[in-house]
């Protein structure tokens, strides 16, 4: 965690420099965006529009596949917020994936349209997330991890006791009998797309806000953040509840796309493994990482499809190797090499007289190793002192 940490400390420090440096001829400017950001935003918009139009163009097999991609992207983004920023390594997020699915099932059993049940299920997961946080926050790091796992197991053991929910064998989702199957596929796809876009946008907005500064500081150094007055436990609790809601949304999409639910699968640790591997491989502690990681995940899955469970073994080994030798993940390598960030959550300081971003030059300065090194987008001039400490 140290490498991305240091980079972001620079970002946070740069963020504290409010406005012009003063003094020098031709004052320095501080902006959030760079030209790549504008292109990235435009590109993202185009991608979302094209993805939204896709059901008119392709067969349902493709959209069904993409639903799985969006679901994992949602879960990985949530896990990234948990582990990458708030330092909460949960291996029990399947508790909320399963809960989200079962809440949709319960509501549809009471004649609520499943697509309307989705937001209710999300809210329900957030509400359940609060007492769960109260319990598991008593433990730290590894014990916290296993405690979340136990919670997921408890959820499963409770759910199977209700015959009305299908007990141990599971149940089918009703409520779509009058809907044309083609339309259902398209609606499901749009719902999944909406969920992932909202989740990524939400994470982005959180990280740009004041809370994001706290989270970034926590990611870099929890003790430091605490001593600077950041309300670490409260922020962690907030993130835990958000992640509960997000994973609940993913679970709701899963049951709607599969039209059935089965307790062992719904509360399987497999979900946690997938979101963790996707995040680690893509790059933990960045918004782009989980998105890229999900794409890599499915590319590997597709290419190793004929070897059965081997794809998961390979994924696990790759994730372990990345965690050990490239802790910033594939996206970390890319952004380090080319100095790009698609989601600017920090600030960019333009030294006086410098008009164009000099990504490479900034990089060289950073890799030369004088701490605290700035990230690509906070390319500092030689005369800039460190920013005032966060207050």
């Amino acid at each position: 965690m140290t490498a991305p940490g240091r980079a972001a400390a620079g970002q946070a420090a740069a963020g504290m420099l409010t406005g012009p440096d003063g003094g020098g001829p031709g004052a320095a400017r501080v902006t959030r965006s760079r030209r790549t950001t504008l292109w990235a935003a435009l590109g993202a918009l185009v991608v979302v529009v094209i993805l939204g139009y896709l059901p008119y163009l392709v067969l349902s097999g493709t959209t069904d596949f993409l639903v799985n991609v969006f679901v994992l992207m949602t879960m990985a983004s949530m896990w990234n917020l948990l582990a990458g920023y708030a330092g909460l390594v949960s291996v029990g997020q399947q508790a909320f994936v399963g809960l989200g699915g079962y809440l949709v099932l319960i509501l549809s059993n009471h004649a609520v349209e499943p697509f309307l049940a989705l937001p209710v299920a999300v809210a329900g997961c957030a509400v359940v997330g609060l007492p769960v946080w109260w319990l598991v926050s008593r433990l730290r790091t590894g014990y916290f991890a296993i405690a979340t796992w136990v919670i997921a197991s408890i959820f499963e053991l409770i759910v199977v006791r209700f015959p009305s929910l299908g007990g141990g064998t599971g149940a089918n989702l009703s409520g779509f009998e009058n809907l044309d199957p083609t339309l259902l596929t398209a609606y499901t796809y749009w719902a999944a797309l909406a969920v992932v876009v909202l989740v990524v946008l939400f994470v982005y907005l959180i990280l740009r806000s004041r809370l994001g500064l706290v989270l970034t500081a926590m990611r870099d150094d929890e003790v430091g953040a605490r001593s600077s007055g950041a309300r670490v436990p409260r922020t962690q609790g907030f993130v835990f509840v958000v992640a509960a809601a997000g994973c609940g949304a993913a679970g709701a999409i899963i049951i709607i796309s599969q039209l059935s639910i089965e307790p062992t699968a719904a509360f399987s640790v497999q979900y946690s493994a997938e979101m963790i591997f996707a995040t680690i491989i893509g790059g933990i502690g960045t918004i782009e990482g989980p998105i890229l990681g999900t794409i890599i995940f499915f590319a590997l899955q597709k290419s190793l499809a004929q070897y059965g469970t081997w794809y998961f073994i390979v994924l696990g080994l790759v994730a372990m190797a990345v965690a050990l030798w490239a802790p910033r993940g594939i996206w970390g390598l890319i952004s380090e090499r080319f100095g790009i960030r698609l989601f600017p959550v920090g600030y960019h300081l333009w030294p006086a007289g410098e008009q164009r971003p000099r990504g490479r030059a900034a990089l060289r300065r950073r890799s030369s190793g004088t701490a605290p090194a700035g990230p690509a987008e906070a390319s500092r001039g030689p005369g800039d002192g460190p920013g005032p400490p966060p207050g």
């Binding site: 965690m1 493994a273 998961f312 372990m320 050990l324």
Partner: protein, 290 residues
Amino acid sequence: MSWVNAIIQGILIGGLYALFACGLSLMFGVMKVINLAHGDLAVVAAYTALGVITITHVPAVWSFILVVPIFAVLGYVVQRTLIQAALDRSVLTTLLVTFGLSVVIENALLQFASADSHSLDIGPLVSDSIQIGSQISIAWLLLVIFVVAVVVLLGLQYFLSSSRQGRLIRAVADDQEAAQLSGADYRHVFGIAGAIAFGTVALAGLAFGMYSSFDPTIGTDQLLLFAFEAVVIGGLGSLWGTLVGGILLGVVQQIGAQIGPSNQILAGQLVFLLILVIRPQGLTARRSTA
């Protein structure tokens, strides 16, 4: 009378849980590492014993003579390489790496050994029991496992508190840098602790394989969670506490099963939650170390 029987069975099985848990507890106590692959290691040990028995034709009961040393060596090697490399990065990395290891082990077992369940065949020993009255019967196997567990935990406690190597381990656990300054190679000490942890979990895995059937997924579905619950119930960082926690978990599970067979696991987990609410530092710990 059946309640007394349930409690007695619970105490005996609790010994096995404590045996599972002591490696987890030791690795956390010494290296601050939570090994999420702990349960899977026990399952691997049971499969290894199956292989050893097939090749060497030793009776299943004696397979531990080979398997436990193999796992101790494996523990030293894995600690010195994989886990140490992760430790050098961060606590987060150790969690990710051991979780990755757990998933890889489980899927590899599914790939090579199929999802079928196996058990270590110990012949008539599995059903021999001492009959007390009409309701209570104590299986010899469980009794032996319990005695082994208590001997191992007490032995480990004695080893840590009294032997030279044990003092070294405690010194490194207390203050890694100070121990290093005094000439202790903390990496080697970590390796020793890893060897002990892997050895005990292998022993627990073999005992479990003789007592019940096992399959590739039981390591994470049950064993890791039980071991963890025993540690938390008893109190972190105390082997005595782990023994108490294991026994309490076993008793609660058996009482739950007495009420209804589907309650067994849930009862244990609810007690775990209860402890988390009212006494997060565990039953035996004096102050919070979690």
